[in-house]
């Protein structure tokens, strides 16, 4: 059976279970779009290719499937780049499909030509430039396999237009054996026994859960493990939700933007078990001072992460869920009560410092931490939250009390402003029954606000919380601390009236200036049918922590 490249692509996408694609058409992916129009696959037209890539990422994080985004050659492809790099840093499985100029024109700098496989190589898990239509089916299948397995990540397929249009024999075996790619899932038993022994001997153990716990769907196993062994847990930014925020053993987020109890517990730990985390600089701070008295156990599916940033006493390569299941055989019931009591005191002490209740009387401005506290109560932490980047991200990380794994969508590694809104769009498409809330600031909101039109066109209902301090708050704070309050280029004069802006897209909105109004406003927003934007006026002096 002979099929065109475009037909082959769509057929294999359907075989891979793809039901939704986020994308943007152009000249060089014409045959694909022509074929896509006749497919069952739903195509969500975004307003910018970066939006498509972030939406695919949000979709992937919520559904556990590989997200798919599409763009044309040249600027379409380069507009995907930030989204691809964001997905790479956070290990999110997406497949990006780009059109390319005709094969015989490659390298001649023709209209809308760019070397996208070359450009994305440093932050793609793998990429393909298709040179022969008969390999396309295999390539697409492999791309999904690579993106979604092992340590997930973005894979790019660049398809010249002549290959999309040209016909070749369709051969599809579904074979995904790649000799250079064999991820390890099971942990080495000897190493697991060492962990069990270390846990038994430890008097102040701490677990640091990263995004890998969520990726491998290991929240349940983690909970069983810590409740049996009585070990407090901190998370990285990517690990938020790995255990419910209200769990007594949850310390909060670790690191430079984390909470006191978490950092104190790690500083005093004699055993630190890092699971599915990179031990990145934002989490560890100064490496030589991080957990300096602790024996370090590092469990990760990516061997290259172990020992990269932190010396390790017990390294284990494998999938967190598989390893926690294996480990449950060796872990004894031995609740570290004394230690848990100690960290609980730190938790209470820290909580008082950041409790915004005493500021509730403040007028003129709204306290963002209070907003998130009320939001947590009203949603019971069951809503999906997608954040932008900046102060809003850290406020959300530390004050939205998420109750389930996978519900916190944020650009952790790359810190991409403009991630939240399109990621929330992808999440809502992937999980239409859940409330999806965008937490944003006035700076990052304007990075991808064109996607409000995507919401409108496709009826995607989001609740948008916009913290407006008319500043690039986090940069301003940096200038305050590091550059003697020499504030420069951080005032966002010329902000639009966000409520009017929302209404231009048929989105209801309100501006809130007082803490007293917060509860009612949030209730209105959450209960209203359709999308809703709440703009909260924030004191520019309001600090991140």
């Amino acid at each position: 059976m002979k099929l065109t490249g475009a037909q082959t692509l769509i057929k294999v996408l359907e075989n891979e279970g793809v039901t939704t694609i986020f994308g943007y058409p152009g000249a060089a992916n014409g045959p694909i779009y022509d074929e896509l129009s006749r497919s069952e696959i739903k195509h969500i037209l975004t307003r910018h290719e970066q939006g498509a890539a972030h939406a695919a990422s949000g979709y992937a994080r919520i559904t556990g499937k590989v997200g798919v985004c599409m763009a044309t050659s040249g600027p379409g492809a380069t507009n995907l780049i930030t989204g691809i790099a964001t997905a790479y840093m956070d290990s999110i499985p997406i497949v990006a499909i780009t059109g390319q100029v005709p094969t015989e024109m490659i390298g001649r700098d023709v209209f809308q030509e760019v070397d996208i496989t070359g450009a994305t190589a440093p932050f793609c898990k793998h990429s393909y430039l298709v040179k022969d239509g008969k390999n396309l089916a295999k390539i697409v299948h492999q791309a999904f396999h690579i993106a979604g397995s092992g340590r997930p990540g973005p894979v790019l397929i660049d398809i010249p237009i002549d290959i999309q249009a040209g016909a070749s024999e369709f051969t599809y075996s579904g074979e995904s054996d790649i000799r250079g790619y064999k991820p390890t899932y099971e942990g080495h038993v000897l190493q697991l026994k060492k962990i069990a022994k270390a846990v038994q001997e430890a008097s102040s153990p701490v677990i640091c859960a990263g995004g890998g716990v969520i990726t491998s769907d290991a929240a349940e196993e983690l909970l069983a493990f810590i409740e049996k062994a009585g070990i407090p847990v901190t998370t990285t930014l990517m690990g938020i939700g790995a255990i419910p925020a209200k769990h007594p053993l949850y310390l909060g987020m670790l690191g430079s933007h984390g909470v006191y109890a978490a950092n104190q517990a790690v500083a005093e730990a004699d055993l630190l078990i890092i699971m599915g985390a990179r031990a990145g600089d934002r989490a560890t701070g100064q490496r030589d001072k991080f957990a300096k008295d602790a024996k370090i156990v590092h469990i990760d599916i990516d061997p290259a992460e172990i020992g990269k940033n932190l010396g390790t006493n017990i390294p284990v390569v494998g999938d967190i869920k598989t390893i926690l299941k294996q480990l449950s055989k060796y872990i004894q019931q031995d609740y570290k009560k004394e230690w848990v009591d100690t960290v609980s005191q730190w938790k209470r002490g820290g909580a008082e410092k950041i409790n915004p209740a005493d500021e509730i009387k403040q007028s003129q401005y709204v306290n963002p931490k209070y907003v998130l506290k009320v939001l947590s109560e009203m949603t019971e932490g069951k809503a999906i939250v997608a954040t932008e980047v900046g102060q809003n991200q850290i406020w959300a990380a530390n004050h939205y009390q998420l109750s389930f794994a996978g519900g916190f969508l944020t650009s952790g590694g790359l810190g991409t402003m403009g991630y939240g809104l399109p990621a929330a769009i992808g999440a809502k498409v992937g999980c239409p029954d859940k409330t999806v809330i965008v937490i944003s600031g006035d700076g990052s909101f304007q990075m991808n606000l064109q996607e409000l039109a995507t919401m409108k066109q496709w009826g995607i209902e989001l609740k948008i919380i916009l913290f407006n301090n008319s500043r690039l708050g986090m940069v301003r704070e940096l200038q305050k601390m590091k550059y003697s309050s020499n504030y420069f280029a951080v005032v966002l004069e010329g902000n639009p009236d966000f409520v009017t802006l929302a209404s231009a897209y048929d989105i209801q909105g309100e501006k809130i200036t007082q803490n007293e109004e917060v509860k009612d406003a949030l209730a209105r927003a959450l209960n209203a049918p359709g999308s809703y934007l709440l703009e909260f006026m924030i004191d520019p002096e309001e600090s991140t922590l």
Binding site: T117, G118, A121, H126, G180, P303, A304, V316, V317
Partner: protein
């Protein structure tokens, strides 16, 4: 810093070299030399990479290379248990008075003269990096016009082979 020789089997496909080279520049690793060619299996190429760095660097290089889908296998070669060779072509000034002296040098180093002109001799030399360096040093006095080196290729001694599917694939991170 010490030099480490890695023997890397990769898929013989377009773009592999650029991925490997890109990885080195992106992660800030220093390549001393890189030689690539096909193997006994036409689908597989072998890269011999000499890395300059400490143990941490070599471990990271190995692990990061292993993450590339097109990299099939990596082994670090023990210098005492492998044969290392490099080929150099050296074009050196030669006059009627110096020619015979150069030819003596060529004999001593077991090199070979592959081209002669009125004012030059072109010498082919195979050996370890240090032997080539010593030879280069001796030729300097005559004036080296041009030198081309391949970079080191290396193979394990004895029965051991590095092949697709043989032994451990180096993917373990422990």
């Amino acid at each position: 810093m010490a030099k480490h020789t890695l023997s890397v089997l990769v898929e013989n496909q377009a773009g592999v070299l650029s991925r490997v080279a890109g990885l080195f520049s992106r992660r800030g690793f220093n390549i001393d030399s890189l030689a690539v060619g096909i193997t006994e299996d036409a689908n597989v190429s072998r890269m011999t990479i000499v890395v300059d760095g400490d143990d941490y660097t070599v471990e990271q290089v190995t692990k990061q290379l292993n993450k590339l889908i097109d990299v099939i296998k990596i082994r670090q070669l023990d210098p005492n248990d492998s044969v290392n060779r490099e080929l150099a072509l050296i074009k050196v000034n030669a006059t009627s008075t110096t020619r015979s002296e150069i030819m003596q040098m060529v004999d001593i180093f077991r090199a070979k003269i592959v081209d002669v002109s009125k004012n030059t001799l072109t010498v082919e030399m195979t050996g370890s990096g240090s032997k080539i360096a010593a030879f280069e040093d001796m030729l300097k006095q005559f004036g080296i016009k041009e030198m081309v080196r391949t970079g080191i290729i290396a193979i394990e001694r004895g029965n051991q082979v590095i092949k697709v599917g043989s032994g451990e694939n180096g993917a373990s991170g422990e």
